[in-house]
Amino acid sequence: MAVTRTLKERWWQIFFLALALALPQLLTSRYIFQILVMGYLFSIATLSLNLILGYTGQASLAHAAFFGIGAYGVAILTKGGLSFWMALPISALIAASVGFLVGLPTLRTRGSYFAISTLCFGVIVSIVAGNWISLTGGYTGIVGIPTPTPIRLPWFGEISFQDRTAQYYLVLAFLLLTLAVMHRLTGSILGLSFMAVRNNEVLAGALGIDTFRVKLLSFVVANFFAGLAGGLYASLIGSISPSTASMELTFNWLVYLLLGGVATLSGPIVGAFLIPLIMESLQFLAEYRMLIFGALLIAVIIYFPRGAMGAVQMWRQRVSGILHRTRGAREGVVAGQEP
């Protein structure tokens, strides 16, 4: 019974999961593999941006800086001989800790001041990445970053990450982990307190919620996953430069988030795949494509302020509301009677 219900309610999630698992068997093109891996990596980054911006309502404009910290962390540590499996969590934790230190003063500010101070922090990180030559390799960056160390798993035997299929499944596994964490967080009373801060900070405080701590926690978790995505990126792409921590990346993810759907779990993933696809299909317009894209962005913000998945969610709620009312009227029950 429970299985049937889960299948019925979650059919599209199961479909996409099955598709994601089957794709490496169906595809051979190296180019498409690369696009998919980048899509998953940027989905993790956008999902984490969604936590602080979408759910908690704090516009962090330093997200790529934390992605960059994770990337440089893994690059430096693995080139220094540390195993990828140690370097990745350490780098993500460094990103989270730096986030904690940055959040301490900046999250006390309100409104646009947080956005401005994180913007400044983002600029500082990319300047440091470009100029601390002995550590970061300056504007040339770091090349020849080793791929993840092979691991031995029960049933699968030894997995080497030289192989692109293994790389694909590795990023997919981390995306699923990120999704699971975000799902548990946003579906809990802790996650509700993030949304409370976004919706009405004064009321949240009056209800005993320490709004500063809530914002700090959300910021730290978001930066942990940004760092994680960055670390994976460094190891799988093999080279990084200050552009890995650039403002341009943050703005790309912001666009993915706004168009995909703020404060939804599927929106960031949809955005991370859909937008590059739209950009790619507008290639024939050459330099005019940004013009078209800009107009599209404005139209979506005006007509679908909650992005593509927000619009789908609203549409589903409306349809289920109509069905509920019709069924309720037929069976003589009042809609939503049972809490």
């Binding site: 009373i189 802790l190 009405n200 809490p339």
Partner: protein, 258 residues
């Protein structure tokens, strides 16, 4: 004594909003604070709950000094409040709003939330039970899963009281809970406040303009004018105080209460 306020004053860059107010609220009491618009009633609530920093004063709640504490620290000590303009989480559902009112009684942090530990599950059950209980008290069980933005003004007022009630406060501060409501809805809210006070034994401090409601509910009344207390005592006596009639009630009202 549940709440003790000594010489509370607040200046907003030269403008005195509250001046030298001292009052006490005993356990189980229903105290009404009345006064004309701009008398400093809402600022007084804001000062008690840490939204404004007092210029000078000392406030004690259950014998502990809470002067200058942050809003969430005051709330955790057992003072809950509603706001004059209904404040709710309008992007969330009724149940979510109520659950947030109980957040101060829960301890689940990041790890227990992610791992769904046993204590987390127990806490979740406690939140659900309390939400169902309060939904019943405020009469919104049939609206549990609706978004706040779809609720009527009267339902939103009831929900705001429910949210404040969720954390089982020792003192409930209600700021004009019937503001902008028609008579029938006012009657329902009056009954709700009465039942919270009498059946659940919650101490209530009520700011209200509707004198009939105040007369029905309050055991004691404090009248504020230009930030100072001009009268204090049982509602019947206060209604006949010439100072109060002149400053707030007006002669017509005096005739009506006779």
């Amino acid at each position: 004594m549940l709440l003790q306020v000594k010489n509370l004053s607040k200046n907003f860059s030269g403008l005195t909003a509250v001046q030298d107010v001292s009052l006490e609220v005993s356990e189980g009491e229903l105290l009404a604070i009345v006064g004309p618009n701009g008398a400093g009633k809402s600022v007084f609530f804001g000062l008690l709950t840490g939204i404004f920093k007092p210029t000078s004063c000392s406030v004690f709640f259950r014998r502990e000094e809470i002067t200058g504490m942050k809003p969430h620290q005051v709330a955790r000590r057992g003072i809950a409040r509603t706001f004059q303009t209904t404040a709710l989480f309008d992007q969330l559902r009724v149940v979510d709003n109520l659950a947030l009112g109980y957040r101060l009684r829960t301890k689940s942090g990041l790890c227990s939330t992610l791992l769904h530990t046993r204590s987390w599950a127990r806490e979740k059950q406690r939140v659900t039970d309390r939400v169902l209980e309060v939904l019943k008290t405020i009469g919104l069980s049939h609206r549990a899963f609706h978004f706040v933005s779809t609720l009527s003004q009267a339902e939103q007022r009831r929900l705001a009281i429910g949210v404040a009630l969720m954390g089982q406060p020792g003192l409930l501060l209600l700021d004009e809970p019937t503001g902008g409501l028609v008579q029938r809805d006012t009657g329902e809210i009056t009954e709700l406040i009465r039942s919270i006070h009498q059946e659940q034994g919650v101490t209530i401090c009520l700011i209200e303009h509707k004198m009939r409601m105040v007369m029905e509910l309050a055991q004691r009344m404090v009248v504020l004018n230009f930030g100072s207390i001009i009268a204090e005592g049982p509602p019947r006596e206060i209604a006949q105080d010439p100072k109060v009639i002149e400053a707030y009630l007006g002669v017509d009202h005096f005739a009506e209460t006779q």
